[in-house]
């Protein structure tokens, strides 16, 4: 704690009320625009009006099929998975009071990856994949849940256990991939790279049901989270049921991440970066910040997918490759920014 008054930097005042209104609206506009772009573009270009009409079945059969069966699921899954990751990361970072925390780091993504590659290795149909991944995410979350009930979930311990879960699941994934039937290796690697290719109505249903369950919980927990971020003792003094709130936050965050990973594979960086960007735009924990974080996540995944399909002439890159690649420059920028006084 510094107690100097003489050498204070020029006081910064927040210009937040305006940002809280403008940022979510702007981001929502971008998400809608990029979503429409995804419906319109592909191997066959479809006029905007037709593409929109096709979403409700008001276009010719061929166009309706392309939009409804191929492009719309992909766009919806990208938006919903990105939003879930954005929300999950924000809850996790607040709960652990650590801006570098994310569901990737505490093992939820690892759990989902492990059961997904096991399912692929066992030759289960693609339809079973989201459920297998959701089961893995839930199991990893279960371990964290049991642990948080057991010790009261202090931040440092939770991070340590999470890193342990992450390491074990990663090792297991490597083992499974190394021993997998060579004919199924391709499918496993595509899933692990976080691809939005060939999403269907099953994926859409899984992610929308998951989001509908978990997002209201996330909003309901925000007020407690905002106080909990100030420290366990002051939160207790202010009347936050600390243990219960922590447990609910772990479960909700894991559920959100699990749902996203189940339908889109492990998309790196989104859960870490989206809440950062949201806080820079609209300030610390508040409903506006959560909304902004979700929209940023959706935008990141949509943009990564659109970019991945166009970056190389001869092949499409999975969205997860693009989002993960964004992580390094972002962290360097963060380092550069926080490195200065």
């Amino acid at each position: 704690m510094s107690t100097t008054t003489a050498t204070q930097p020029v006081a910064r005042r927040s210009t937040r009320p305006l940002a809280r209104l403008v940022a979510p609206l702007l981001l929502a506009g971008l998400v809608v625009a990029l979503g429409i772009f995804g419906l319109v573009n592909g191997t066959r270009q479809i006029p905007v009006i037709d593409a929109l009409a096709a979403t409700v079945g008001l276009a010719d059969g061929g166009t309706s099929f392309i939009v409804q069966q191929l492009r719309l699921p992909r766009v919806v899954v990208a938006i919903a998975a990105g939003a879930c990751l954005g929300a999950s990361g924000m809850l996790m970072q607040g709960l652990l009071r650590n801006p570098l925390a994310s569901p990737d780091i505490i093992g939820v993504t690892g759990g989902a990856s492990l059961t997904a590659v096991l399912a692929i290795g066992a030759g289960l149909p693609p339809l079973a994949l989201p459920f297998a991944a959701a089961f893995g995410a839930a199991s990893a979350a279960g371990v964290l849940y049991v642990f948080s009930r057991w010790t009261g979930a202090s931040s440092v311990r939770l991070i340590l256990v999470g890193i342990g879960v992450h390491a074990v699941t990663n090792a297991a994934v490597t083992l499974v991939v190394a021993r997998i039937d060579p004919g199924r290796l391709g499918a496993a690697e595509v899933w692990l790279s976080g691809s939005l290719h060939a999403r269907n109505t099953t994926h859409v249903t899984v992610v929308l049901v998951g989001a509908a369950l978990a997002l209201p919980l996330a909003y309901a927990l925000l007020r407690s989270l905002a106080t909990l971020e100030l420290g366990d003792e002051i939160a207790t003094g202010a009347g936050v049921p600390v243990r219960r709130t922590r447990t609910l936050l772990v479960v909700t965050s894991a559920l959100l991440a699990g749902v996203a990973v189940a339908v889109a594979g492990p998309l790196g960086f989104v859960a870490l970066g989206a809440p950062h960007i949201a806080r820079r735009l609209v300030g610390p924990t508040s409903p506006a910040t959560l909304t902004t974080s979700m929209l940023t996540g959706a935008l990141l995944v949509l943009a990564a997918d659109a970019l991945g399909q166009r970056l190389l002439d001869d092949a499409a890159l999975p969205a997860g490759v693009i989002t993960a690649a964004l992580g390094a420059p972002y962290l360097l920028w963060l380092l550069h920014r926080t490195g200065r006084p």
């Binding site: 107690t3 100097t4 927040s14 909003y219 309901a220 007020r223 100030l230 003094g237």
Partner: protein
């Protein structure tokens, strides 16, 4: 110059004062027992300072009263009800706590911080009410932080920051305030500022203030009531003049001292002797 008469809230009829009683508590961390059976009654509507050597259990006592720590035996009674069994939100409407170390999230403004103090008064989704607004405005006003409301907490000076934290606890509008070393790390001017603010809250609003303090002279000057602790037990309690004596200093701190009268307030000042 103002003279300091002892505050006697009992002389003001009609004010509802809240009773805090500590009933035979034992508490500690893990297998380490720190408090060994403490009984005391916090004088309602007065300023109480808890003093004692490092590691005597002052902070542990405050944390146990504030239900941050569960006692292994005994109970803390707030108006006759055990605080560790009441719904925590209900306790938070009567008992406010300012712990020693807190976390300031990045880009948190003073107003954001103070608004978080309204937590126990709000439902999960209920809107921001006029009562909330007024409570925050008043807390900012009383602590002199209204002009800092839009500033980031992590960019304030130590004294400003401490006042912002006090404002947060005040926004909770509790009749009882517990503070763990509210003046640590502050320079003289800021220490006085905080202590005077707490005394003003007590005099003007009958707030019951309990604080852990390190500086005995400050405790004598700003508290109506002093509790001294040693080895996890209460050693003495009473008015500063009755409690702070050369005998007590030798007993509790193991330091040979004289006491002289504060030329301004007449309260005792501790002067250590040379060996």
């Amino acid at each position: 110059m103002t003279t300091l008469e002892t505050h006697d809230p009992a002389s003001r009829p009609g004010t509802a004062l809240h009773q805090v009683r500590v009933d035979g508590i034992h508490a500690g961390y893990g297998t380490d027992t720190i408090l060994n059976g403490i009984d005391l009654t916090v004088p309602a509507g007065a300023v109480t300072a808890i003093v004692g050597p490092n590691g005597c259990g002052k902070s542990t006592l405050l944390k146990t009263i504030a239900r941050v720590l569960n006692p292994t035996a005994g109970s803390v009674l707030l108006d006759g009800e055990p605080v560790h069994r009441l719904p925590t939100r209900q306790v938070a409407k009567r008992l406010g706590l300012l712990p020693q170390s807190n976390v300031v999230p990045e880009q948190l403004t003073v107003r954001d911080l103070v608004e978080r103090g309204r937590y126990p008064h709000r439902g999960i989704l209920s809107a921001w009410t006029d009562t909330d607004h007024d409570a925050v405005a008043e807390a900012l006003e009383v602590t002199g932080t209204a002009s800092l409301a839009g500033r980031y907490v992590d960019e304030l000076s130590g004294g400003q920051r401490q006042r912002a934290w006090i404002a947060m606890v005040l926004a909770q509008q509790t009749p009882v305030l517990l503070l763990d070393e509210p003046t640590t790390y502050l320079d003289l001017a800021h220490r006085l500022e905080v202590l005077r603010l707490l005394r003003r809250l007590n005099r003007d609003r009958d707030a019951t203030v309990v604080m852990v303090l390190h500086d005995l002279n400050e405790a004598c000057r700003y508290a109506d009531h002093i509790i001294t602790m040693r080895d996890g037990a209460v050693h003495a309690c009473g008015r500063p003049r009755e409690v702070v004596t050369p005998e007590l200093m030798a007993d509790v701190f193991g330091v040979a001292c004289l006491t002289v009268d504060d030329p301004v307030t007449g309260t005792p000042i501790v002067v250590p002797l040379e060996e």
